[in-house]
């Protein structure tokens, strides 16, 4: 009987640890973007959508940004970090100012995005920033085609991490991140 109670108590503790581990994983996924949303700077960029679907997560629109492909001074291995500095041009659009392997100090009016290089030549390297897709309510993603231009509000923090805050198609809001 005592052995049973000891075994029971041991298992209860290990299950508590397992559940704590699970909650820890969930928090480690959720906390960094929340911090970015609170501490980052807002910018608005244009993008082109396509409309795939994910089994576990439903409708999503894949977003193609102008700054998602940059020119680099040297050859670059995929998986290496790339820092892309964006600044507003005379029309008010956010455009690439520079791109490189080192993090630059942004000037006033500029933001620096941190991404990861993918396979490509130095002349044109695709870069992923983790903002290449947005999940929308079921059935909404298929309405958009690559002919549509969407406006995406991003929040970018000091580390160059970006989170999608809002996506609009013309005047229609198709996605908005609401924390609380």
């Amino acid at each position: 009987m005592n052995a049973h109670i000891t075994e029971y108590g041991h298992r209860r503790w290990t299950l508590k640890l397992a559940v704590l581990f699970q909650i820890g994983v969930l928090l480690s996924l959720a906390v960094p973007p929340v911090v970015t949303l609170h501490s980052g700077r807002a910018i608005c960029v244009e993008t082109v959508p396509v409309d795939p679907w994910n089994m576990f997560r439903g409708d999503y629109i894949r977003l193609g940004y102008d700054f998602g492909r940059v020119t680099m001074p040297n050859n670059f291995d995929s998986g290496e970090p790339v820092y892309v500095t964006l600044g507003k041009d005379e029309t008010g659009k956010w455009q690439v100012v520079s791109a490189g392997p080192e993090r630059p100090a942004p000037r006033p009016g500029q933001v620096v995005l941190c991404g990861v290089a993918e396979y490509g030549s130095a002349a044109s390297i695709p870069v992923k920033f983790g903002i290449e897709q947005v999940f929308v309510p079921e059935g909404k993603g298929k309405r958009f085609s690559s002919a549509d231009r969407l406006k995406v509000d991003l929040i970018v923090d000091d580390q160059g991490r970006a989170v999608i805050k809002r996506v609009r198609a013309g005047d229609e809001e198709i996605y908005r991140l609401r924390l609380i």
Binding site: V19, L26, A30, F56, R57, G58, E138, L179
Partner: protein, 419 residues
Amino acid sequence: MANLTGKQQLLLTREIDRWHSESIIDESLADRLKSLYPERSFSHGVSSSLILVGAILVGLGTLLFIAANWQSMTLLAKLAVMVLATVIANYSGWCLRFEPGKRPRLGEGLLLLGSLFYGGSIWLIAQTFNFDSSFSTGLLLWSLGTLAAALATRLPSLGCLTAILCGLWAFDCDRFGIFATGAVEHLPHFLIGIVVCTGLAFYLRSPAVSWINMVWGGLWLMLWSPMHSLALLLWGVAILGAFLHISRTRPIFSGSFLYGGSIAALGALLIMTAGSSGTGSSDFTHGVFLLLSSALVVLMLVAVKQPARLPELTCLGVLVVAACLFSVAPEPTARLCANISLLSLIGAMIYTGIKRLGSAGMINVAIVFFVLDIIFRYFDFFYTMMDRSVFFLSGGVVLMVAGALAERGRRKMIDGMAA
């Protein structure tokens, strides 16, 4: 006293009642006979299945709810619901499963549901923050959390979920469409998944986990590796070799190892009779070297532990070396050698099953593959040579005769074994 299955026990009880009603035995003898085989509760299997299926349906419903991306709730509200659901399902599952006098099957279902809720929470967070569709990272985190719960509770259902998730992670679904190009990149996933799931199967003493492990491991090698059917053959032979040891030391796993290994090895040879198993690329050569070495190491280790099984292990060793050699031969030669190897393995399994191991399962699998081989060869040789109706008519007759002969032969062999 024989350990009867539920169906056998029910049949025996009915027969004893019939003998009693026909006055073949008296009441006291009937009671004594029945007491030798106490009644088992048949509702347990049904209730367990219903509860587990119910838990899976609730979990799937949760995932679909998340996939619908209902935007009326804020992130914090959705997250709070999911985390609370995970904690409550685990807590109530724990109380019902492990505290005496409660409902252990419902508790097991709730613990499984807790791990499904946990997985749902991962996808919810990924969806909310529009994480990159890196499918495998989510699966890895989900399988780690489920593994922790399985180790803590020692429940086979959680072990099965972990094995399925590990398998999906090893396949890396994002790139599922590009077969045979990601073998080297994903080999660490495969090795980690196999080692973890095998360890988990032994820790939980669960043949079900072992089965899932073998199925996804074999599929991975067949679909992902550049050697395809040759990789499956080496995998099957390694498992068959391990069976010769496991059947002595851990009999609970002997079924999964015997059937998993023999189906993989015979199936691979059957596929190889239809054509080439791969190419002569460097990936192919490296893969063959790696898998052949692994299979031979397994066979040698078993030979050290079970010297009485040396003849079987030597045959398996010769088979894998021969298969590696003929797989790079021109296609007609390779197909001929695959046919000879398949028939030799079938013959060896029938002989070993009857004379050395006394294993009806081994004989059954060998006979099934013999019949499959006849069907394959029939299609190979006669499909284009005869009128279609004659083809199907004569094929049907051949199969029926072969089936009857196989059944008679198998019965004779099994009767001989029993005698």
